[in-house]
């Protein structure tokens, strides 16, 4: 170990300041670029007299809301102006700890601008889009929270996909056999926890590289679920194993009656409410309790944590198992919350996108949900691309969240925001 002199510390903190400054300016330029893009691409394509009409009922909802009609060009110019101001302020002064909040605001405004442009001279069902967005965000957010639990404890989890897939399969079979959704749910959650335990066993006990260990779990989960699926539950004589049923839609009293917001937020099956609950609960647990502090200390500086008497390996096992349980819960969404059956590889890469949502959301549950909603929105929009007024192929809309992830990862997050000791097996001295 080398001794760190004051001069070195000084140098290091200057380096950090420089990095902070560069990140601040990059973010500001990103905001300005959004403003310029709206102004050049969207506003210049809109005729002065055009109107944008948003429908505010998702269809079939009990609450009624009038359509929202406004002049397209004026709104676009206004949005570009706001974004420009935000960008200028970010470059000159910076929003400090509110930066991520402002980033979310900028994203929302930019998307609103996009919709205004894409709907100019026609109409879009805004409420329907947002409702689907919330639903699509569920598996991504739950997957991201699984990642957060593991990674805050210093274990990289790229096995979210495999954990979710296993859980989707197990929950289907158990729910079908027991005719009880709750039994299926519990079985799925436990299956996810078991996969988390295996991930921990491989990467903590055997110190396999955590990315490799995750890859093993992903390949294994794909193999075993597809194997058992084509051997049994996709066959006609075993059809009874693939009829788990689905959690019913719940209309929250009073709240679901609110026009526009009610049908979007308060009239879903239990997974949406569970997502909101877990985001709040996990934020509280991670940042306001001793348990969370310990978990994060293990992820940041296991040696220091060990010195203070925290059992690092036990904490890490707990983190991966909890992460597995969370991924397991997210996995049951596919079978019990969205399709009511199991199909081979039905998670279709959502676990990986959940991982991206975790990074996009800066390892914070609220940020992860924001990212999940953003991805969910594009998911929901690409399904409706043909209804827009502009000739934009659905494939390109579908690409947007991935492009956004790359841009944000490269431009804003880059190095150094992940838990510091992540990926390194801890060895007690």
């Amino acid at each position: 170990m080398t001794t760190t002199t004051d001069a070195q510390i000084e140098q290091k903190s200057q380096g950090i300041l420089k990095l902070e400054r560069r990140r601040r300016i990059t973010m500001g330029i990103l905001f300005l670029a959004a403003a310029v893009f709206i102004w050049l691409v969207f506003a210049s394509n809109v005729e002065p007299g055009m109107e944008t009409r948003f429908m505010m009922n998702p269809g079939g909802g009990s609450a009624e809301a009038a359509d929202w009609v406004f002049p397209s060009l004026a709104y676009l110019n206004m949005i570009a102006g706001i974004l420009g101001l935000l960008g200028a302020f970010q470059i000159i002064r910076g929003f400090g700890k509110y930066t991520y909040g402002v980033l979310a605001l900028v994203s929302i405004l930019f998307i609103f601008g996009f919709l205004t442009w894409a709907t100019a001279g026609g109409q879009t069902n805004l409420a329907g889009l947002l409702r689907v967005m919330v639903v699509r965000a569920v598996p991504l957010t739950l997957g991201a929270m699984s990642g957060i639990l593991c990674e805050r404890g210093g274990i990289i989890n790229i096995a979210i996909e495999g954990m979710m897939l296993t859980s989707a399969f197990v929950s289907t079979v158990f729910a079908s056999l027991s005719h009880s959704l709750i039994v299926g749910l519990l079985a799925g959650v436990l299956a996810g926890g078991l996969m988390g335990l295996i991930h921990g066993w491989l990467s903590i006990k055997h110190k396999i590289n955590q990315i490799i260990s995750g890859t093993v779990i992903n390949i294994f989960a794909t193999g075993i679920t597809s194997f058992l699926s084509s051997k049994y539950i996709q066959k006609v004589e075993f059809q009874y194993l693939n009829e788990p049923g689905m959690f019913p839609q719940i209309n929250v009293p009073i709240l679901s009656e609110i026009p526009f917001i009610g049908p979007i937020l308060f009239s879903h099956n239990m997974y949406v409410f569970a997502m909101f609950f877990f985001v709040i609960f996990l934020t509280f647990m991670l940042f306001k309790t001793r348990w969370g502090l310990r978990l994060r200390s293990v992820g940041e500086h296991p040696k220091a944590a060990d010195t203070l008497g925290i059992n690092v390996h036990r904490t890490q096992y707990m983190a991966v198992i909890l992460g597995g349980l969370m991924a397991g819960f997210g996995g049951t969404y596919f079978s019990l919350g969205s399709s009511g059956r199991f199909d081979e590889v039905m998670t279709a890469g959502r676990g990986f996108i959940g991982l991206a949502a975790m990074i996009f959301g800066n390892w914070h549950p609220v940020g992860a949900m924001g990212a999940g909603l953003l991805f969910g929105f594009f998911d929901s929009l690409s399904a409706k691309a043909s209804l827009l007024q502009v000739p934009l192929p659905s494939e390109f809309i579908g690409m947007a969240p991935y492009l956004a992830t790359i841009i944000v990862l490269a431009g804003v997050i880059g190095r150094g925001h992940a838990p510091a000791a992540e990926g390194e097996p801890y060895e007690k001295e």
Binding site: H206, I219, G223, G416, E422
Partner: protein, 411 residues
């Protein structure tokens, strides 16, 4: 060197010591154990085994063994060919019958070819400390650019058209590797995330290309036109054997990667960046350049896998043409210990397994996905040799074995 008998005996025991603590034995045992567990899985998912267990425990065990044995026999004849059939065919002297009988063997080689390219791509990345999960996307892009060069560029002789089309495939993949490489080197954006994102972008981009600009106007469903005769990789035998020269190109690339990694300064620098970036930096290696180049080469190899498939097997590009070659390649590269020769061997192993599994599924009804399970189990054993060493009570290795050196998101 002189050797007395005593010395020889000693050297033999030294050899055994080395062997039992070597990686090689672990790999063999890992494969063996994986196949054993696969047999167990087959046995416990077969109804007849349970029926036999109801009769007596011995008949149950016997049936279980027989089931596993039959499965692997079907796997073997599916991947190599039925020896009896081959003998009869050669005895009859009928050319077509002979070709049919030996077809499984060559079909396995055809199956192995994209694995070799893909495995090399992942292995090269690992050597530079980069985890290229984006091979699947790079394969898609390489297939798209390769097939375009195959049908759109007309009037070239075969000798130019084929290398050109392969080059286009390589360039497409290289571009798809370049972007994550650049971002990693310049901003520290971790390549695992960026390559996963690039995968999804590639899938959607190719979907769109197939639907619009590259669609064959004579077809209703999204497909590209057939490639020209001059772009087809020549086949070495008549139908039904699809074996083509792509296999030899793959071997050639493996030799090239070996030479590059172990016989050139640049390869040394690349491995140095992979195993100890700080040392590399102090030694004056340009990490930025090395990282970008490694990703570009890795992507190029993956792109060639895609081009190889469209130019040698399918002759056109269809949606969802790759059955997960990219993801399998990760396991193969690790199984081959990220060494080009190892990659060839592991690609052959899984090429034969996959091809055999297809006929096995038809013959005895065991789903092809068993290969993925074998892959995962073997990979786990190879990544954690301690498990194998404990099971078989092997010696501890003399020095620490690290499969790969990857860094976490921080970069």
């Amino acid at each position: 060197m002189e050797k007395t008998t005593e010395n020889k005996k000693k050297s033999l025991s030294v050899f055994w010591d080395e062997f039992s603590s070597s990686n090689f034995l672990v790999i063999l045992l890992a494969i063996f154990t994986g196949i054993l567990l696969g047999g167990v899985l087959v046995a416990i998912t077969t109804n007849e085994v349970y029926d036999a267990f109801r009769v007596s425990i011995w008949s149950g065990l016997g049936t279980a063994l027989r089931t596993a044995w039959n499965t692997y026999v079907a796997l073997f004849t599916g991947s190599v060919g039925d020896p009896e059939k081959i003998r009869l065919a050669f005895a009859s002297g009928d050319q077509l019958a002979i070709r049919r009988a030996i077809n499984p063997f060559f079909e396995s080689l055809v199956q192995s070819t994209p694995y070799i390219f893909g495995g090399l791509a992942v292995a090269l990345g690992f050597r530079a400390g980069l985890f290229n999960i984006g091979v699947e996307g790079q394969i898609f892009i390489g297939a798209a650019t390769g097939v375009w060069a195959g049908y759109a560029i007309e009037g070239l002789p075969t000798i130019i058209h084929i290398p050109l089309a392969m080059l286009f495939g390589a360039l497409g993949g290289a571009l798809w590797g370049f972007i994550p490489g650049l971002l990693k080197a310049k901003t520290g954006a971790h390549e695992v995330i960026t390559t996963i994102m690039m995968n999804y972008i590639a899938f959607r981009l190719v979907d769109w290309l197939l639907k619009f600009p590259m669609k064959d106007p004579n077809e209703f469903t999204p497909k590209t036109p057939w490639i020209l005769e001059t772009a087809k990789l020549p086949r070495l035998f008549d139908t039904p054997i699809r074996f083509h020269i792509g296999f030899f190109i793959a071997i050639l690339m493996a030799v090239a990667v070996y030479y590059l990694l172990f016989k050139t300064t640049w390869g040394f620098e690349l491995r140095m960046v992979g195993s100890n970036p700080n040392a590399a930096r102090y030694a004056g290696v340009k990490i930025t350049k090395t990282t970008i180049l490694a990703m570009v080469l890795s992507g190029a190899l993956a792109g060639m896998a895609g081009a190889n498939e469209v130019l040698g097997v399918n002759y056109r590009l269809l949606p969802a043409f790759s059955s997960g070659y990219g993801f399998d390649s990760i396991a193969l590269a690790l199984l081959g210990k990220t060494h080009p020769l190892g990659v060839i061997l592991s690609s052959l192993l899984f090429g034969f397994l996959r091809n055999g599994a297809r006929s096995m599924q038809l013959a005895v009804g065991v789903p092809i996905d068993i290969v993925s399970i074998l892959q995962a189990v073997i990979l786990a054993f190879i990544a954690a040799p301690a498990i194998i060493r404990t099971i078989y009570r092997l010696r501890e290795p003399k020095h620490k074995e690290d499969l790969v050196s990857l860094r976490s998101w921080k970069g």
